[in-house]
């Protein structure tokens, strides 16, 4: 990425791009928040099945959650390697992160296909619509992250990533971890809790 002058003047002493990334992540909270709100509002409102309890496979998704958590660990190691100017380590850990992310996406693809074969579609009911939209956009975020990681890995292999440009790795790391914590929320709400939803239910107070 760009060789920005890291010693430019800033009022707070904090780096511009790091601040940009954090503000962007704050903004992305609202994006996922609105998608999650849609899902939560429509819990129990699907007129027809399949309903979550028929479809959601918590054990398998727990595995993919592990995979994503592991990828965050790999990401942190990539940053550590960057700070230590360990070129082999940087490339390996970046690739590992991307690889684990790709496995997660693989799980998602298989899951989407399985659900589709079991009758859950975007247009079939509200559960399908809100589920696929939310997890689909999360998957899109992960995919963009994988592409970014691969680009960084290529740069690293060319020797252009090291302690002087550690911020570049830190930025992709922040993005990647954010995507991971969004998944933590999705996993809890859609799988651990919502995964047991049955057909139309009266909502509390109704």
């Amino acid at each position: 990425m760009a060789h920005a002058a890291e010693h430019e003047y800033t009022t707070t002493g904090l780096n511009h791009r790091k601040m940009l990334m954090w503000v962007f992540l704050g903004s992305d909270c609202l994006f996922f928040g609105a998608l999650i709100a849609t899902y939560m509002v429509y819990r129990g409102q699907s007129l027809v099945g399949p309903y979550p309890i028929d479809i959601i496979n918590v054990p398998v998704t727990t595995i993919s959650t592990f995979v994503l958590l592991m990828s965050s660990f790999a990401m942190v190691q990539a940053l550590a390697a960057t700070n230590a100017d360990n070129k082999r380590g940087i490339v390996s850990w970046l690739l590992a992160t991307a690889f684990l992310g790709a496995i997660f996406i693989g799980f998602q693809i298989v899951e989407f296909n399985t659900f589709k074969n079991e009758g859950l579609t975007l247009g079939g009911n509200l559960f399908g619509a809100s589920f696929f939209t939310l997890t689909g956009f999360h998957g899109a975020h992960v995919t963009l992250g994988i592409i970014w990681l691969l680009a960084m890995a290529i740069l690293a292999a060319k020797g252009r990533v090291g302690s002087k440009t550690a911020l570049d790795v830190e930025l992709v790391g922040l993005y990647w971890h954010f995507v991971d914590i969004v998944w933590i929320v999705i996993f809890t709400l859609l799988y651990l809790i919502g995964g047991f939803d049955v057909g139309p239910v009266a909502l509390p107070g109704g």
Partner: protein
Amino acid sequence: MAAITGVLARPTSYAGVWGWMTTVDHKRIAVLYGVTAFIFLLIAGLEAGVVRMQLASADNDLISAGRFNQMFTMHATVMVFMVIMPLSVSFFNFVVPLAIGARDVAFPRLNALSYWIFLFGAVLMHISFLVNEVPDAGWFSYANLTEKPFSINRGLDFWAIGLLVMGAASVAGALNFVVTIINLRAPGMSMMRMPVFVWMTLITSILLVLAFPVITVGLIELTMDRNFGTHFFIPAEGGDPILWQHLFWVFGHPEVYILILPAMGIVSEVFPTFSRKPLFGYPFIVFSGIVIGIMGWAVWSHHMFTVGLGPVANSVFTITTMLIAVPTGIKIFNWIGTLWKGSIEFTTSMMFALGFVALFIVGGLSGVSHAVSPSDFQQQDTYYIVAHLHYVLFGGSIMGAFAGIYYWYPKLTGKMLSETLGKLNFWFIFIGMNLTFFPMHYLGLNGMPRRIYTYSAEFGWENMNRLASLGYVILFVAFLIFIVNLWQARNSRRVSHDPWDAPGLEWSIASPPPPYNFAEIPQVEGLDQYWIAKERARAAGTPLTEPEALVDPDSIHMPSPSYWPIFTAAGVALIGGGLLSHYAISFLGGAITMMGVIGWGNEPAAAPSEHH
């Protein structure tokens, strides 16, 4: 690396059309935004004209009902997203770096990207006119009128996708300003020494980055309903059209504060200058702005009082909405306090600022009457609301923008707009605006609903409608006067760098500012820094009459022009365009965006050996 950076060499000069297309200079980007916004102002103004001509007479058949729907939909959509917002961003761009003593924004290329994505998104939405499939469901496009089969043609898709693209531009721009204001203030400029306009920019930008994602989700869900078979807002399949309203207004209410806070910021700069007094109650004005920004998230359902949310919800939102009037009132009292016993100069800019306060109060009063949900039940969907919104948006935001134009024009160009024409401009707008919109209070309370393309004579609304349409003619003339003023200013005499003897840092440098803005980054000791510096120099007997001395531009490293922003923006726009025509175009757009991002990433912020 050079191979990836692109076929074309990096641009180096400011000259010509290519110079404008590749500029990353905030001052030029401000001009781009401003000119674009003004063109759309004329377009949306003409659309308003069609509406007013149709409604001038009962049982009129100047245009069909369908065309009328398109006119009011596009008038509002264009005014909100393609006039007031880019006008605000134009001011942010021009003023903020100068006011905080910076050389540019934190991310100059991102700044350029925001403009080009905005322009392409706006053009994308207007292609709907070329294919005669124009959005026609109101600027808020309530579901499920917006679903198929009720809105079968692509009009609503143009609307949704155009807004999605423009939304990306807004968020990118706002992110830039948040970082710029937090991180690029001159030494000594603490947050509480920032000019109020900069504060309002910060709050507005924070609102933008937080609010746009919500409508993005709404627009995505609407687009999916219309094109991918989902039923988010379709009742027959269990969906709830009210969810659309919530998503829209959770965005929509902060959006109206996004529309008004910049104007309030401008007015807070104009009043001290032309009262020859510091702003009264600066901390109160700042904090009330922050409070408005926060509370703006707690009031959105006052747009939905008549939807049937229930008495508890209606009561809660009534209370929060009534409360949010308080910080605005605080600002108004502090502005009056600024004027009080000041040495008032009635320049055009000052008059627009005074007009802003007067008209915004009127709009605020009608707003408070809407806040109370029982009375809103009578007012909702009537012309009373149309009156309110135009008083706050036209009497508020547009008047504020004009105050800013007349105020900062000499800084941008080194010349003055004519004060005579300016005052004529002001009076025509003021009178025209009141003539057009005040009768609408009566019309609304007499039962005239919104969004009707005609009405029977027996309702007795014709006279008021005639008055309103006459007001439009006066407004039309007002804008012609403004155009004439702009035109003649090209040849007017040069003025000094500080024609108003103003307090802001931007007035300490030459007009127009050199590319690097400040030869030496200023040291800030307090609020109204330039007044402090001038006062100190006067006391020492060596008045500051000259602008900061110019230096050799090559000695200061400025970010270089770049074609990646416009290139990447084209990619983003094509993604949107492809969704409206052939998906292959979206893939092409995606590839272009990707190439743009890679090229951009490989390009250093400043060309290493190039100075210009």
